[in-house]
């Protein structure tokens, strides 16, 4: 999941921003949100997993 989020974040950064600094900021923000949502959904499913 971490690798997937990393690759997609890099692609999104290059896709949607033009300046290098903006790209890095967007990549980090996108990566953080990917991980947050992934882990959040994982925990949200926890009560139903047993």
């Amino acid at each position: 999941m971490l690798f997937f989020a990393l690759v997609i974040s890099v692609a999104f950064g290059f896709l949607s921003r033009r300046r290098p600094l903006d790209r890095v900021k967007y990549m980090l923000w996108s990566l953080f949100l990917f991980l947050l949502v992934g882990i959040g959904i994982g925990w949200a499913m926890y009560p139903f997993s047993r």
Binding site: F4, V7, I8, V10, A11, F14, L15, R18
Partner: protein, 138 residues
């Protein structure tokens, strides 16, 4: 008189630009990053080639499902459309997977998602190349 001459010239330029934009979009779909490379956007071209290529290779290496056109249900058809988005890399995925998919393991299931994500990402990239060639995006 001057306006009469300039209007057809502008129209022709617009037509040429639209044709070039369509060619960039198609090239970007066929080979990830090629649509940007034609516009000398080297950074984006390399990144899209690498990211789509890596996703396809890992997805196929994990023996993810590469869908065919004869899908039995709506999900298989949607999966086929997503996979087809990778353009020529769709064929590469089929070559990398000579033994076919194995989604009985979690790895195969993850691989299927990697392949679908590669296809959709490449479609986004091709659309961006088309829009950039039309002058709508930087």
């Amino acid at each position: 008189m001057t306006e009469e001459i300039q209007v057809p010239a502008a129209s022709q330029a617009t037509k040429n630009r639209e044709t070039f934009a369509l060619a960039c979009g198609f090239a970007g779909w066929l080979v990830p990053g090629l649509g940007h490379a034609l516009q000398k956007m080297w950074g984006r071209a390399i990144i899209f080639f690498i990211t789509v290529g890596v996703l396809v290779l890992i997805g196929a290496g994990m023996r993810g499902n590469v869908f065919n056109s004869d899908g039995g249900d709506a999900f298989a058809s949607l999966g086929y459309l997503a996979d087809l988005g990778a353009g020529s890399f769709y064929l590469l995925a089929k070559k990398v997977e000579p033994n076919g998919a194995d989604v009985s393991r979690a790895g195969g299931d993850y691989g299927t998602r990697f392949l679908a994500a590669a296809g959709v990402l490449n479609l986004l990239s091709a659309l961006h190349a088309y829009e950039a060639a039309r002058g709508r995006k930087g």
